[in-house]
Amino acid sequence: MELDSLYQEVILEHYKRPLNKALSANPLVQVHHINTSCGDEITLNLDMDGEVIKSITWDGVGCSISQASTSVVSDLLSGKTSSEAMALIEEFQVMLQSKGSDLGNEDNLGDGVAFAGVAKFPARVKCALLGWMASKDAISQAVAKINGLSSEEKR
Protein backbone atom coordinates (compact mmCIF):
# COMPACT_ATOMS: atom_id res chain seq x y z
CA MET A 1 0.00 0.00 0.00
CA GLU A 2 1.28 3.41 -1.03
CA LEU A 3 0.35 4.85 2.35
CA ASP A 4 3.51 3.25 3.73
CA SER A 5 5.65 5.11 1.21
CA LEU A 6 4.45 8.35 2.78
CA TYR A 7 4.24 7.20 6.36
CA GLN A 8 7.54 5.37 6.67
CA GLU A 9 8.09 3.36 9.81
CA VAL A 10 10.56 5.94 11.13
CA ILE A 11 8.01 8.73 10.73
CA LEU A 12 5.38 6.89 12.74
CA GLU A 13 8.08 6.08 15.27
CA HIS A 14 9.02 9.75 15.74
CA TYR A 15 5.31 10.66 15.81
CA LYS A 16 4.55 8.22 18.60
CA ARG A 17 7.73 8.99 20.57
CA PRO A 18 8.82 12.52 19.61
CA LEU A 19 12.30 13.72 20.61
CA ASN A 20 12.92 16.94 22.51
CA LYS A 21 9.21 17.63 22.89
CA ALA A 22 9.45 19.58 26.14
CA LEU A 23 10.30 23.24 26.10
CA SER A 24 13.55 24.29 27.79
CA ALA A 25 13.42 27.02 30.40
CA ASN A 26 14.76 30.52 29.57
CA PRO A 27 15.76 29.83 25.97
CA LEU A 28 18.02 32.13 24.00
CA VAL A 29 15.35 32.34 21.30
CA GLN A 30 11.73 31.25 21.17
CA VAL A 31 9.70 31.18 17.96
CA HIS A 32 6.09 30.32 17.24
CA HIS A 33 5.07 29.08 13.80
CA ILE A 34 1.64 28.33 12.33
CA ASN A 35 0.68 26.42 9.24
CA THR A 36 -2.09 28.77 8.16
CA SER A 37 -3.69 26.32 5.78
CA CYS A 38 -4.52 23.86 8.56
CA GLY A 39 -3.93 25.53 11.88
CA ASP A 40 -1.02 23.35 13.07
CA GLU A 41 1.21 25.25 15.48
CA ILE A 42 4.57 24.80 17.13
CA THR A 43 6.61 26.68 19.68
CA LEU A 44 10.35 26.06 19.41
CA ASN A 45 13.16 27.00 21.78
CA LEU A 46 16.77 27.29 20.69
CA ASP A 47 19.88 27.45 22.86
CA MET A 48 23.41 28.00 21.55
CA ASP A 49 26.83 27.36 22.87
CA GLY A 50 28.81 29.98 20.97
CA GLU A 51 28.53 28.99 17.33
CA VAL A 52 27.16 25.58 18.17
CA ILE A 53 23.51 24.63 18.68
CA LYS A 54 23.15 23.33 22.23
CA SER A 55 19.52 22.29 22.07
CA ILE A 56 16.29 22.58 20.15
CA THR A 57 13.20 21.82 22.21
CA TRP A 58 9.63 22.28 21.15
CA ASP A 59 5.94 21.78 21.79
CA GLY A 60 2.88 21.93 19.59
CA VAL A 61 0.01 20.24 17.87
CA GLY A 62 -0.03 18.88 14.40
CA CYS A 63 -0.21 15.91 12.11
CA SER A 64 2.20 13.00 12.23
CA ILE A 65 4.28 14.49 9.43
CA SER A 66 4.82 17.83 11.13
CA GLN A 67 5.35 16.29 14.56
CA ALA A 68 7.78 13.65 13.34
CA SER A 69 9.62 16.10 11.17
CA THR A 70 10.07 18.51 14.06
CA SER A 71 11.30 15.66 16.20
CA VAL A 72 13.87 14.76 13.52
CA VAL A 73 15.13 18.28 12.99
CA SER A 74 15.45 19.00 16.70
CA ASP A 75 17.66 15.96 17.05
CA LEU A 76 19.65 16.38 13.84
CA LEU A 77 20.72 19.96 14.41
CA SER A 78 21.92 19.63 18.00
CA GLY A 79 25.67 19.88 18.08
CA LYS A 80 25.89 21.45 14.62
CA THR A 81 27.18 24.97 14.03
CA SER A 82 24.62 27.48 12.87
CA SER A 83 25.99 27.47 9.34
CA GLU A 84 26.05 23.68 9.15
CA ALA A 85 22.47 23.70 10.38
CA MET A 86 21.37 26.23 7.80
CA ALA A 87 22.92 24.11 5.03
CA LEU A 88 21.08 21.01 6.23
CA ILE A 89 17.78 22.87 6.37
CA GLU A 90 18.40 24.04 2.81
CA GLU A 91 19.16 20.47 1.72
CA PHE A 92 15.95 19.20 3.32
CA GLN A 93 13.92 21.93 1.68
CA VAL A 94 15.34 21.15 -1.77
CA MET A 95 14.46 17.48 -1.29
CA LEU A 96 10.87 18.34 -0.37
CA GLN A 97 10.40 20.63 -3.32
CA SER A 98 11.76 18.08 -5.79
CA LYS A 99 8.34 16.43 -6.30
CA GLY A 100 9.93 13.12 -5.42
CA SER A 101 13.02 13.13 -7.67
CA ASP A 102 15.50 13.91 -4.88
CA LEU A 103 15.63 11.05 -2.36
CA GLY A 104 17.94 12.87 0.04
CA ASN A 105 21.37 12.05 1.38
CA GLU A 106 21.06 9.95 4.51
CA ASP A 107 24.62 10.79 5.57
CA ASN A 108 23.55 14.40 5.94
CA LEU A 109 19.87 14.29 6.74
CA GLY A 110 19.71 11.13 8.85
CA ASP A 111 16.09 10.20 9.61
CA GLY A 112 15.17 13.27 7.54
CA VAL A 113 15.35 11.20 4.34
CA ALA A 114 12.22 9.38 5.46
CA PHE A 115 10.32 12.48 4.35
CA ALA A 116 11.40 12.15 0.70
CA GLY A 117 8.03 10.52 -0.04
CA VAL A 118 6.17 13.57 1.24
CA ALA A 119 7.42 15.54 -1.75
CA LYS A 120 4.94 13.62 -3.89
CA PHE A 121 2.03 15.06 -1.88
CA PRO A 122 2.17 18.82 -2.46
CA ALA A 123 -0.45 19.57 0.19
CA ARG A 124 1.75 17.94 2.84
CA VAL A 125 5.08 19.59 2.04
CA LYS A 126 4.24 22.47 4.37
CA CYS A 127 3.63 20.00 7.21
CA ALA A 128 7.07 18.46 6.78
CA LEU A 129 8.70 21.88 6.65
CA LEU A 130 7.00 23.42 9.68
CA GLY A 131 9.66 22.49 12.27
CA TRP A 132 12.51 23.12 9.86
CA MET A 133 11.31 26.60 8.98
CA ALA A 134 10.82 27.36 12.66
CA SER A 135 14.38 26.18 13.32
CA LYS A 136 15.70 28.31 10.48
CA ASP A 137 13.92 31.34 11.87
CA ALA A 138 15.20 30.65 15.40
CA ILE A 139 18.80 30.19 14.22
CA SER A 140 18.73 33.44 12.24
CA GLN A 141 17.42 35.27 15.28
CA ALA A 142 20.03 33.65 17.50
CA VAL A 143 22.86 34.57 15.12
CA ALA A 144 21.59 38.14 14.93
CA LYS A 145 21.35 38.25 18.71
CA ILE A 146 24.86 36.89 19.24
CA ASN A 147 26.33 39.23 16.63
CA GLY A 148 24.43 42.09 18.20
CA LEU A 149 25.74 41.12 21.63
CA SER A 150 29.29 40.71 20.50
CA SER A 151 29.27 43.98 18.61
CA GLU A 152 27.85 45.56 21.75
CA GLU A 153 30.56 43.89 23.79
CA LYS A 154 33.14 45.25 21.40
CA ARG A 155 31.91 48.79 21.89
Binding site: M1, E2, Y7, G39, C63, Q67
Partner: protein, 418 residues
Protein backbone atom coordinates in the same frame (compact mmCIF):
# COMPACT_ATOMS: atom_id res chain seq x y z
CA UNK B 1 -34.29 3.77 0.84
CA UNK B 2 -36.14 6.58 -0.86
CA UNK B 3 -38.26 5.13 -3.63
CA UNK B 4 -38.63 8.35 -5.62
CA UNK B 5 -34.92 8.74 -5.78
CA UNK B 6 -32.86 6.51 -8.02
CA UNK B 7 -29.32 7.25 -6.94
CA UNK B 8 -27.68 5.00 -9.50
CA UNK B 9 -29.47 6.86 -12.29
CA UNK B 10 -28.28 10.11 -10.72
CA UNK B 11 -24.71 8.85 -10.52
CA UNK B 12 -24.62 8.07 -14.23
CA UNK B 13 -25.11 11.80 -14.91
CA UNK B 14 -21.80 12.62 -13.20
CA UNK B 15 -18.86 11.50 -15.35
CA UNK B 16 -16.25 12.25 -12.67
CA UNK B 17 -17.63 9.45 -10.49
CA UNK B 18 -15.99 6.98 -12.89
CA UNK B 19 -12.52 8.27 -11.98
CA UNK B 20 -10.14 5.89 -10.28
CA UNK B 21 -8.14 7.34 -7.40
CA UNK B 22 -4.58 6.54 -6.18
CA UNK B 23 -4.34 3.42 -8.24
CA UNK B 24 -7.48 1.42 -8.53
CA UNK B 25 -9.91 2.84 -5.99
CA UNK B 26 -13.35 4.04 -6.97
CA UNK B 27 -13.92 7.71 -6.13
CA UNK B 28 -15.93 8.22 -2.96
CA UNK B 29 -16.56 11.94 -3.10
CA UNK B 30 -17.55 13.28 0.30
CA UNK B 31 -16.38 16.87 -0.14
CA UNK B 32 -19.48 18.46 -1.69
CA UNK B 33 -19.57 21.03 1.08
CA UNK B 34 -16.41 22.47 -0.50
CA UNK B 35 -17.65 22.12 -4.07
CA UNK B 36 -20.09 19.81 -5.80
CA UNK B 37 -19.58 17.73 -8.90
CA UNK B 38 -21.40 18.67 -12.13
CA UNK B 39 -23.90 16.69 -14.17
CA UNK B 40 -23.49 16.41 -17.95
CA UNK B 41 -26.56 18.57 -18.55
CA UNK B 42 -24.85 21.54 -16.88
CA UNK B 43 -21.65 21.05 -18.90
CA UNK B 44 -23.68 20.74 -22.09
CA UNK B 45 -25.64 23.91 -21.38
CA UNK B 46 -22.42 25.88 -20.99
CA UNK B 47 -20.86 24.41 -24.09
CA UNK B 48 -23.97 25.01 -26.16
CA UNK B 49 -23.93 28.63 -25.07
CA UNK B 50 -20.36 29.02 -26.33
CA UNK B 51 -20.73 27.09 -29.57
CA UNK B 52 -24.07 28.55 -30.65
CA UNK B 53 -25.03 31.76 -28.87
CA UNK B 54 -21.96 33.41 -27.40
CA UNK B 55 -22.06 37.22 -27.47
CA UNK B 56 -22.19 40.04 -24.93
CA UNK B 57 -25.67 40.03 -23.37
CA UNK B 58 -27.47 43.38 -23.26
CA UNK B 59 -24.92 44.93 -25.58
CA UNK B 60 -25.84 44.58 -29.19
CA UNK B 61 -28.77 44.37 -31.54
CA UNK B 62 -27.43 41.38 -33.43
CA UNK B 63 -28.93 37.92 -33.30
CA UNK B 64 -26.26 36.29 -31.11
CA UNK B 65 -26.46 39.13 -28.59
CA UNK B 66 -30.23 38.72 -28.54
CA UNK B 67 -29.95 34.99 -27.93
CA UNK B 68 -27.27 35.42 -25.27
CA UNK B 69 -29.48 37.96 -23.51
CA UNK B 70 -32.47 35.62 -23.60
CA UNK B 71 -30.48 32.70 -22.23
CA UNK B 72 -28.92 34.84 -19.52
CA UNK B 73 -32.21 36.38 -18.43
CA UNK B 74 -33.96 33.04 -18.80
CA UNK B 75 -31.53 31.58 -16.27
CA UNK B 76 -32.33 34.45 -13.93
CA UNK B 77 -36.01 33.53 -14.15
CA UNK B 78 -35.21 29.91 -13.37
CA UNK B 79 -33.23 30.86 -10.28
CA UNK B 80 -35.97 33.27 -9.20
CA UNK B 81 -38.66 30.62 -9.54
CA UNK B 82 -36.48 28.12 -7.69
CA UNK B 83 -36.30 30.50 -4.72
CA UNK B 84 -39.85 31.82 -4.89
CA UNK B 85 -38.48 35.24 -5.74
CA UNK B 86 -38.93 37.88 -8.43
CA UNK B 87 -36.37 37.96 -11.25
CA UNK B 88 -35.43 41.55 -10.57
CA UNK B 89 -34.35 40.60 -7.08
CA UNK B 90 -31.77 38.08 -8.30
CA UNK B 91 -28.29 39.56 -8.68
CA UNK B 92 -25.59 37.41 -10.26
CA UNK B 93 -22.14 37.64 -8.69
CA UNK B 94 -19.06 35.46 -8.93
CA UNK B 95 -19.63 33.72 -5.60
CA UNK B 96 -21.31 33.86 -2.22
CA UNK B 97 -18.16 35.59 -1.02
CA UNK B 98 -18.73 38.40 -3.50
CA UNK B 99 -22.46 38.51 -2.65
CA UNK B 100 -21.78 39.04 1.04
CA UNK B 101 -19.01 41.55 0.38
CA UNK B 102 -21.39 43.36 -1.97
CA UNK B 103 -23.88 43.92 0.84
CA UNK B 104 -21.14 44.92 3.30
CA UNK B 105 -19.51 47.38 0.88
CA UNK B 106 -22.80 48.80 -0.31
CA UNK B 107 -23.81 49.54 3.29
CA UNK B 108 -20.35 51.01 3.87
CA UNK B 109 -20.83 53.28 0.85
CA UNK B 110 -24.12 54.73 2.14
CA UNK B 111 -23.90 58.33 3.24
CA UNK B 112 -25.12 59.74 6.56
CA UNK B 113 -28.88 60.20 6.42
CA UNK B 114 -29.41 57.09 4.30
CA UNK B 115 -31.19 54.22 5.99
CA UNK B 116 -28.27 52.04 4.93
CA UNK B 117 -25.65 54.17 6.67
CA UNK B 118 -23.64 52.46 9.40
CA UNK B 119 -22.04 54.66 12.05
CA UNK B 120 -20.02 54.39 15.25
CA UNK B 121 -22.15 52.88 17.98
CA UNK B 122 -24.16 50.79 15.53
CA UNK B 123 -23.97 47.07 15.94
CA UNK B 124 -23.39 44.15 13.60
CA UNK B 125 -24.31 40.67 14.84
CA UNK B 126 -22.78 37.42 13.57
CA UNK B 127 -22.20 34.03 15.21
CA UNK B 128 -19.32 31.80 16.21
CA UNK B 129 -20.30 29.28 13.54
CA UNK B 130 -19.85 31.61 10.56
CA UNK B 131 -17.70 30.73 7.59
CA UNK B 132 -14.92 33.32 7.15
CA UNK B 133 -16.92 34.64 4.17
CA UNK B 134 -19.71 35.70 6.53
CA UNK B 135 -17.42 36.92 9.29
CA UNK B 136 -14.48 38.89 7.90
CA UNK B 137 -16.50 41.21 5.61
CA UNK B 138 -18.44 42.26 8.73
CA UNK B 139 -15.24 42.67 10.79
CA UNK B 140 -13.93 44.95 8.07
CA UNK B 141 -17.20 46.88 7.76
CA UNK B 142 -17.21 47.36 11.53
CA UNK B 143 -13.64 48.67 11.37
CA UNK B 144 -14.39 51.03 8.48
CA UNK B 145 -17.51 52.47 10.08
CA UNK B 146 -16.71 52.32 13.78
CA UNK B 147 -19.59 49.92 14.40
CA UNK B 148 -19.33 47.18 17.02
CA UNK B 149 -19.19 43.50 16.09
CA UNK B 150 -20.89 41.05 18.49
CA UNK B 151 -21.79 37.39 18.10
CA UNK B 152 -23.96 34.49 19.14
CA UNK B 153 -22.13 31.66 20.89
CA UNK B 154 -22.34 28.05 19.87
CA UNK B 155 -23.22 25.49 22.54
CA UNK B 156 -21.41 22.14 23.01
CA UNK B 157 -24.03 20.38 20.87
CA UNK B 158 -23.27 22.70 18.00
CA UNK B 159 -26.44 24.76 18.26
CA UNK B 160 -26.66 28.55 18.40
CA UNK B 161 -27.08 29.78 21.95
CA UNK B 162 -30.06 32.12 21.61
CA UNK B 163 -30.40 32.82 25.33
CA UNK B 164 -29.01 36.35 25.02
CA UNK B 165 -30.72 37.19 21.71
CA UNK B 166 -32.37 40.36 22.98
CA UNK B 167 -29.07 41.58 24.40
CA UNK B 168 -27.27 40.93 21.12
CA UNK B 169 -29.95 42.17 18.76
CA UNK B 170 -31.01 45.44 20.28
CA UNK B 171 -32.01 48.88 19.05
CA UNK B 172 -28.40 49.62 18.08
CA UNK B 173 -28.25 46.62 15.76
CA UNK B 174 -28.17 47.48 12.06
CA UNK B 175 -27.16 44.14 10.54
CA UNK B 176 -27.58 40.50 11.56
CA UNK B 177 -25.59 38.12 9.37
CA UNK B 178 -26.01 34.40 10.00
CA UNK B 179 -25.54 31.13 8.25
CA UNK B 180 -28.55 29.03 7.37
CA UNK B 181 -26.65 25.78 7.80
CA UNK B 182 -23.18 25.45 9.31
CA UNK B 183 -20.61 24.10 6.86
CA UNK B 184 -18.77 22.41 9.76
CA UNK B 185 -21.47 21.20 12.14
CA UNK B 186 -24.37 20.59 9.80
CA UNK B 187 -26.59 22.59 12.17
CA UNK B 188 -29.57 24.33 10.55
CA UNK B 189 -30.40 27.56 12.35
CA UNK B 190 -33.96 28.63 13.27
CA UNK B 191 -34.07 31.65 10.97
CA UNK B 192 -37.63 32.82 11.44
CA UNK B 193 -37.34 32.59 15.20
CA UNK B 194 -34.32 34.90 15.08
CA UNK B 195 -35.97 37.09 12.43
CA UNK B 196 -38.67 38.09 14.91
CA UNK B 197 -36.10 39.87 17.02
CA UNK B 198 -34.37 41.31 13.95
CA UNK B 199 -37.68 42.78 12.76
CA UNK B 200 -38.42 44.16 16.20
CA UNK B 201 -35.30 46.32 16.11
CA UNK B 202 -35.48 47.11 12.38
CA UNK B 203 -32.11 45.64 11.41
CA UNK B 204 -31.19 44.04 8.06
CA UNK B 205 -31.05 40.24 8.09
CA UNK B 206 -28.39 38.74 5.81
CA UNK B 207 -28.53 34.97 5.34
CA UNK B 208 -25.57 32.88 4.19
CA UNK B 209 -27.40 30.12 2.32
CA UNK B 210 -24.33 28.41 0.83
CA UNK B 211 -25.07 25.13 2.56
CA UNK B 212 -28.86 25.28 2.49
CA UNK B 213 -30.03 26.27 -1.00
CA UNK B 214 -28.19 23.33 -2.65
CA UNK B 215 -29.63 20.81 -0.22
CA UNK B 216 -33.23 21.60 0.65
CA UNK B 217 -36.07 23.79 -0.60
CA UNK B 218 -35.48 27.41 0.37
CA UNK B 219 -38.24 29.90 -0.43
CA UNK B 220 -37.38 33.50 0.28
CA UNK B 221 -41.08 34.26 0.52
CA UNK B 222 -41.20 32.06 3.63
CA UNK B 223 -38.09 33.45 5.26
CA UNK B 224 -38.33 36.81 6.96
CA UNK B 225 -34.93 38.01 5.76
CA UNK B 226 -33.56 40.86 3.64
CA UNK B 227 -30.60 39.38 1.77
CA UNK B 228 -29.47 35.89 0.91
CA UNK B 229 -26.18 34.74 -0.61
CA UNK B 230 -25.07 31.44 -2.12
CA UNK B 231 -22.65 29.99 -4.67
CA UNK B 232 -23.47 28.02 -7.80
CA UNK B 233 -20.48 25.68 -7.58
CA UNK B 234 -21.88 23.98 -4.47
CA UNK B 235 -25.18 23.20 -6.23
CA UNK B 236 -24.06 21.41 -9.41
CA UNK B 237 -23.40 24.63 -11.33
CA UNK B 238 -20.12 25.84 -12.83
CA UNK B 239 -17.50 27.64 -10.76
CA UNK B 240 -17.51 31.41 -11.04
CA UNK B 241 -21.16 32.20 -10.36
CA UNK B 242 -22.94 33.22 -7.18
CA UNK B 243 -26.27 34.77 -6.29
CA UNK B 244 -27.41 37.58 -4.10
CA UNK B 245 -31.11 37.77 -3.51
CA UNK B 246 -32.37 40.91 -1.84
CA UNK B 247 -35.67 42.62 -1.15
CA UNK B 248 -36.37 44.55 -4.31
CA UNK B 249 -37.00 47.87 -2.59
CA UNK B 250 -33.68 47.63 -0.76
CA UNK B 251 -31.64 46.59 -3.80
CA UNK B 252 -33.04 49.45 -5.88
CA UNK B 253 -32.05 52.02 -3.27
CA UNK B 254 -28.71 50.75 -2.01
CA UNK B 255 -25.50 52.36 -3.24
CA UNK B 256 -23.78 50.36 -5.99
CA UNK B 257 -20.75 48.21 -5.26
CA UNK B 258 -18.74 47.38 -8.41
CA UNK B 259 -19.12 50.15 -10.97
CA UNK B 260 -18.55 50.11 -14.73
CA UNK B 261 -20.46 49.22 -17.88
CA UNK B 262 -24.08 48.04 -18.10
CA UNK B 263 -25.13 49.32 -14.68
CA UNK B 264 -25.40 53.01 -15.56
CA UNK B 265 -28.27 55.26 -16.49
CA UNK B 266 -26.27 58.32 -17.53
CA UNK B 267 -22.55 59.10 -17.42
CA UNK B 268 -20.57 62.30 -17.69
CA UNK B 269 -16.88 62.78 -16.90
CA UNK B 270 -17.82 64.02 -13.42
CA UNK B 271 -20.42 61.53 -12.30
CA UNK B 272 -22.90 58.82 -13.15
CA UNK B 273 -26.38 57.70 -12.19
CA UNK B 274 -27.28 54.05 -11.84
CA UNK B 275 -29.96 51.63 -13.01
CA UNK B 276 -32.19 49.76 -10.56
CA UNK B 277 -31.43 46.14 -9.56
CA UNK B 278 -30.37 43.70 -10.78
CA UNK B 279 -28.32 45.67 -13.35
CA UNK B 280 -27.25 48.12 -10.64
CA UNK B 281 -25.06 45.37 -9.16
CA UNK B 282 -23.91 43.65 -12.34
CA UNK B 283 -21.17 45.87 -13.73
CA UNK B 284 -19.30 44.60 -16.77
CA UNK B 285 -19.85 41.80 -19.24
CA UNK B 286 -21.41 39.17 -16.98
CA UNK B 287 -20.39 35.56 -16.35
CA UNK B 288 -22.96 34.53 -18.93
CA UNK B 289 -22.01 30.91 -19.56
CA UNK B 290 -21.79 30.22 -15.84
CA UNK B 291 -25.20 31.76 -15.23
CA UNK B 292 -26.65 29.64 -18.03
CA UNK B 293 -25.01 26.62 -16.38
CA UNK B 294 -26.59 27.58 -13.08
CA UNK B 295 -29.97 27.65 -14.83
CA UNK B 296 -29.35 24.10 -16.04
CA UNK B 297 -28.33 23.07 -12.52
CA UNK B 298 -31.61 24.43 -11.18
CA UNK B 299 -33.45 22.42 -13.85
CA UNK B 300 -31.61 19.32 -12.72
CA UNK B 301 -32.42 19.89 -9.05
CA UNK B 302 -36.07 20.59 -9.87
CA UNK B 303 -36.31 17.39 -11.87
CA UNK B 304 -35.18 15.37 -8.86
CA UNK B 305 -37.12 17.47 -6.36
CA UNK B 306 -35.49 19.24 -3.42
CA UNK B 307 -37.65 17.28 -0.99
CA UNK B 308 -36.33 13.98 -2.36
CA UNK B 309 -32.77 15.25 -2.34
CA UNK B 310 -33.06 16.31 1.28
CA UNK B 311 -34.62 13.01 2.35
CA UNK B 312 -31.90 11.06 0.57
CA UNK B 313 -29.17 13.07 2.25
CA UNK B 314 -30.74 12.76 5.67
CA UNK B 315 -30.94 8.98 5.37
CA UNK B 316 -27.27 8.85 4.45
CA UNK B 317 -26.40 11.25 7.26
CA UNK B 318 -28.07 8.94 9.74
CA UNK B 319 -26.06 6.01 8.41
CA UNK B 320 -22.86 8.02 8.67
CA UNK B 321 -23.48 9.27 12.20
CA UNK B 322 -24.50 5.79 13.38
CA UNK B 323 -21.50 4.14 11.75
CA UNK B 324 -18.89 6.68 12.82
CA UNK B 325 -20.17 6.77 16.40
CA UNK B 326 -19.16 3.12 16.79
CA UNK B 327 -15.50 3.95 16.21
CA UNK B 328 -13.36 4.06 19.31
CA UNK B 329 -12.17 7.54 20.29
CA UNK B 330 -14.27 9.23 17.62
CA UNK B 331 -16.18 12.35 18.57
CA UNK B 332 -18.81 13.89 16.30
CA UNK B 333 -18.44 17.68 16.29
CA UNK B 334 -21.98 18.93 15.81
CA UNK B 335 -25.48 17.70 16.53
CA UNK B 336 -25.95 13.93 16.55
CA UNK B 337 -29.72 14.06 16.26
CA UNK B 338 -31.22 14.68 12.83
CA UNK B 339 -33.55 17.53 13.78
CA UNK B 340 -32.66 20.77 11.98
CA UNK B 341 -29.52 19.26 10.59
CA UNK B 342 -28.06 18.68 7.14
CA UNK B 343 -25.65 16.24 5.51
CA UNK B 344 -22.36 17.53 6.88
CA UNK B 345 -20.59 15.37 9.47
CA UNK B 346 -17.45 16.62 11.21
CA UNK B 347 -15.48 14.51 13.62
CA UNK B 348 -12.22 14.10 15.51
CA UNK B 349 -10.44 10.95 16.64
CA UNK B 350 -8.16 10.83 19.59
CA UNK B 351 -4.59 10.28 18.54
CA UNK B 352 -5.14 10.72 14.82
CA UNK B 353 -4.60 14.13 13.35
CA UNK B 354 -7.22 15.04 10.71
CA UNK B 355 -4.48 15.59 8.13
CA UNK B 356 -3.24 12.07 8.58
CA UNK B 357 -6.75 10.71 8.53
CA UNK B 358 -7.60 12.62 5.35
CA UNK B 359 -4.40 11.38 3.76
CA UNK B 360 -5.17 7.77 4.58
CA UNK B 361 -8.76 8.10 3.34
CA UNK B 362 -7.48 9.64 0.11
CA UNK B 363 -5.26 6.61 -0.33
CA UNK B 364 -8.45 4.50 -0.24
CA UNK B 365 -10.18 6.79 -2.77
CA UNK B 366 -12.27 8.67 -0.20
CA UNK B 367 -12.26 12.46 -0.57
CA UNK B 368 -13.04 14.38 2.61
CA UNK B 369 -11.93 17.76 3.85
CA UNK B 370 -9.69 18.27 6.84
CA UNK B 371 -8.68 21.46 8.58
CA UNK B 372 -10.56 24.45 9.92
CA UNK B 373 -13.03 24.61 7.00
CA UNK B 374 -12.77 28.39 6.82
CA UNK B 375 -14.39 28.59 10.24
CA UNK B 376 -11.36 28.90 12.46
CA UNK B 377 -13.03 30.53 15.46
CA UNK B 378 -15.56 27.68 15.58
CA UNK B 379 -12.83 25.05 15.48
CA UNK B 380 -10.98 26.78 18.33
CA UNK B 381 -14.21 26.91 20.29
CA UNK B 382 -14.46 23.11 20.13
CA UNK B 383 -10.87 22.89 21.37
CA UNK B 384 -9.63 20.75 18.50
CA UNK B 385 -6.82 21.61 16.05
CA UNK B 386 -8.95 20.71 13.10
CA UNK B 387 -11.69 18.30 12.10
CA UNK B 388 -12.31 15.80 9.37
CA UNK B 389 -15.49 16.55 7.47
CA UNK B 390 -17.60 14.33 5.26
CA UNK B 391 -20.19 16.32 3.32
CA UNK B 392 -22.86 14.60 1.26
CA UNK B 393 -24.84 15.33 -1.83
CA UNK B 394 -27.43 13.78 -4.07
CA UNK B 395 -24.99 11.46 -5.88
CA UNK B 396 -23.72 9.75 -2.74
CA UNK B 397 -24.98 6.28 -1.95
CA UNK B 398 -24.88 3.87 0.96
CA UNK B 399 -21.71 2.29 -0.45
CA UNK B 400 -20.02 5.67 -0.05
CA UNK B 401 -21.00 5.82 3.61
CA UNK B 402 -19.87 2.27 4.23
CA UNK B 403 -16.55 3.07 2.59
CA UNK B 404 -16.19 6.11 4.81
CA UNK B 405 -16.88 4.25 8.04
CA UNK B 406 -14.61 1.33 7.25
CA UNK B 407 -11.94 3.69 5.87
CA UNK B 408 -11.91 5.71 9.09
CA UNK B 409 -11.61 2.52 11.11
CA UNK B 410 -8.76 1.28 9.01
CA UNK B 411 -6.94 4.61 9.24
CA UNK B 412 -7.40 4.73 12.96
CA UNK B 413 -5.85 1.29 13.28
CA UNK B 414 -2.96 2.40 11.09
CA UNK B 415 -2.05 5.37 13.25
CA UNK B 416 -2.93 4.29 16.77
CA UNK B 417 -3.05 0.51 16.46
CA UNK B 418 -6.05 -1.61 17.35
Amino acid sequence: MNTQFDVSAVRSDFPILDRLIRGNNRLVYLDSGATSQKPVSVLDAEREFYTKHNAAAHRGAHQLAEEATELFEGAREKVATFLGAKSEAIVFTKSATESINLVAYSLGNALPGSKFHIKPGDRIVVSEMEHHANLIPWQELAKRTGAELVWFSVDPNGRLDLSNISDLINEKTKVVALTHQSNVLGTINPINEIAKQVRKVGAFFVLDACQSVPHFAVQVSELDIDFMAFSGHKMLAPTGVGVLWGRQELLDEMPPFLTGGSMIETVSMESATYLPAPKRFEAGVPNMAQVVGLGAAVDYLNKLGMENIHNHEIQLTKLAIDGLSQIKGLQIIGPTNLEMRGGVVSFAIEGVHPHDLGQALDQYGIAVRTGHHCAWPLIKKFKVVATTRASLYLYNNTADIEALVSGVERARDYFVGR
